[in-house]
Every structure is written in C-alpha cells, then in structure tokens.
Subunit: 200 residues, 2 copies
DNA sequence: AAATAAAATTAACATTGTTAATGTTAATTA
DNA sequence: TAATTAACATTAACAATGTTAATTTTATTT
C-alpha cells in the first residue's frame, strides 16, 4: 500500500512540475502580463481547468516559482563575481549582479517585489525570504568586513539596510518607470549609489 | 462662435472632472484593486461607456490623477515639517512625511511607482515628474546645505540619489510585501536608513 | 468484463476593458 | 413652432480573464 501512495505522489509531482515549468518559462519570456491560466495550461499541454486539480489558484502556482528563481539568481550572481575579491568590492559586485538579473528578467522582478499577494501566497515565510534575499547573498562579505575590522558592527548593519533598499529603488524606477531613460545612465547611477553607500 | 466653443469646453472639462474625482476617491479609498471602468463610472454617475467619450482608455484617466495627488502630497508634507528646521534635519522630515503619505494611500503609491504604464500614459513628462518628485520637495534644502557649506556639492548630489532610491525601496517593501511586519518596525527602519544616508 | 476510482476536459459563469449600434437629449434651422 | 441635425449617453455585445461544476475519458480494481 505504501508503493501505491508513492507512485501517485510521484505522478502528481510530475504534473505539478509541468505547470511550474510552463509558468517559469513564461515569466522569464513574456513576463507577468501575458501570463494566464489558459496560456500556462496550453504550454504545459493540459486544459486550463486541469491546473485547478493541482493548484488552489494561479497565484499559488506563480509563487511556487520563487524558490527556483532565487536559486537561479544565486548562480547567476556567483558567476558574475571574481572569486578573489572580498569585502566591500565583493558586496558591490554582488549587488550589481543582483540588479543585472532582475533587469534581465523583469517578470521575475515583478513576481518577487511588485505583484499583489493574496492570503495563500502571503505565507510570510516566502515574503521574508524575498526581503532578505540580497542580505543572504552578501552576508558572508559583511561578516568578512566586520572580522577584518574594515567596518564597525553598527556601520555594517546600517549600510546593509541602506543597500537593500537603494537597490530595490533603483530596480523599481528602472524596470517600472524607465528612469533613468537609458541602460547606460542606469548602470552609471547604480555605480554611484552603491559606491556612495559602501564608502566609509 | 468663440463663446460656443468655450461653453462646450467648460462642460466637457466638468464631466471629465467628475470622472477624475471619482477615480481619485477610489484610489484613496479602496485602491487600485477595486478600480474598474464600471466602478468609476457608477461613482461619477454615468454609464461605463460614457467614460470613453472623455478618455481614450482607463489608464489615461488614472494617470490624469497624478498631478493632483502630487499637489496634495506636497501640502501634506509641508504640514508635517516644522518651519524653523533647515538643511539635513529638514530633508529628514520631508522624507518621512513623503513616506507617511504613501503609506497612508497605498493606492496612490501603486499609481505613481508600480502600475504598469502603456504607450499613452507613458508620456515621459509624467514619468520624469514622478521620478524627481522627492528631489523637488527637498531641492531647496539641498541648496541650503551647499551654500552653508554643510555638504560639498558632490556629496550632496550623491546623498540625494541614495535617499531617492532608499525611500522608494522602503515603501515598496512595506506597502507591497509587508516587510518589516509592523508599522513600528517600519518607521524605526526608515529612521535608521534616512539618518544613515544623511549622516556625513 | 464490469464496476469504480482518478484524471482531464468541456461548458458555463462572473468579471474585466473596450467598441459599435442605438437611443435620447439639446441646439439649429426652416 | 416643427423638423433636422449634432452631441451626448446608454445598452448590447465581444473577447479575455479566473474559477467552478458537470461530464467525459482513462486507469485501476474486483
């Protein structure tokens, strides 16, 4: 009897996976605007109603992609930074990689930080994971700064907060309001702001 | 013949005003989520299709509220600050008032910074007005800092940018992701971040 | 092979933005 | 004043959306 349950579980997870993969593809491609129950289901190879046999609603499905995208973003950022750099320059590079990822995939930016959340997906675990995402990426480097006496504990704490919010603001203005107007100006602004915050 | 045109113009502007007022009321109340062509028209006392005799589409109508809300926000902020304060403390108070306004009216925050824009409303004049909004509110105080030699020109410029983006990040996380979880924690965080940036 | 359980689909509904056709006033002309 | 026309407003309709219920198809068990 154990086996039967397992088999059923495996199959169910497989189908769930098809829907999740379809959703992820669309989020990375067209973005949130072209995402719909019908378009997801079509891409997954099922009818639209089948989705509701596996997910409570479309918001729940969409929020199940968060974890995967975070993992992908971590890989993306790690690939961007030179591994001999430590401390403040490392933090700068991580922040820039992080920004680059969310500019490349504005749909994922929307999903993480913008899209209205409902009860279900509003499981505050996910929300906190999102909130602390940049902090987790940079935490070891902040530690490095503290142990190497580059920064005092309180200063590091303060800069960490400032960086988290400033990066978010930069992304919001550029992704949602096209300000600054060109990518060049935008990266120059990122540079200035990040360095301004990290400078002692 | 001039008169007839004027009269027509006046009446048209009046009706437009009814729709705009209805939209503004809803944005301040229920927010963007409950906003629809039908709900706006009902509140304005017209049928939903009448709206299209006065506005190209609903997005255009909604974006016509931006200017009015900016004026309102300016009044709100000015009422919050003590008028004997100048320079950095004044900038701090302005930033806090600005934050307070957009926390009080999350629907207006969404309209200004979050909602997807289309071709028409994407008249970059409005977008730039939004982008520079906090800067306009604080500009005279930054000038004050420079003329009184409190800050060097480049430092002031840098801090102005950092503040703009950090304030946006704070609002985005709190309004859209309920992080920090309580209003108390949030205001404490605003305090820390704003002071961190403004501290020489 | 028949009965039953599981999975997937079609049909349907309510809500949305938008347009076209129609009705209803107000203004102009004869 | 009565008929015509222009302006304005409304109803009807469509397509797209999320979601649910009923139904059909497929797989499993007896």
């Amino acid at each position: 009897m154990e086996q039967k349950v397992d088999k059923k579980e495996i199959q169910e997870q497989r189908v769930r996976g098809y829907f999740i993969q379809a959703t992820k593809d669309m989020l990375k491609g067209e973005g949130l605007k072209s995402l719909s129950v019908r378009s997801i289901a079509e891409r997954a190879g099922y009818s639209y109603a089948t989705l509701y046999n596996y997910f409570k609603d479309v918001q729940t499905l969409v929020f199940e992609c968060v974890k995967d995208f975070q993992d992908e973003c971590v890989d993306f950022v790690l690939a961007e930074i030179k591994d001999d750099v430590r401390g403040l320059p490392a933090i700068e590079q991580i922040a820039k990689g992080y920004i680059k990822y969310f500019v490349q995939y504005p749909g994922i930016f929307e999903l993480f930080f913008v899209e209205r959340v409902n009860q279900m997906s509003n499981n505050s675990n996910t929300l906190e994971m999102i909130y602390n995402f940049l902090d987790r990426l940079t935490s070891s480097e902040w530690e490095y700064c503290k142990t190497k006496k580059i920064l005092k504990k309180e200063v590091a704490e303060s800069k960490r907060n400032e960086l988290r919010y400033a990066v978010m603001g930069l992304l919001l203005f550029y992704n949602n309001r096209r300000q600054p107007a060109s990518y060049q100006e935008f990266t120059a602004m990122c540079d200035a702001v990040i360095r301004g915050i990290l400078r002692q």
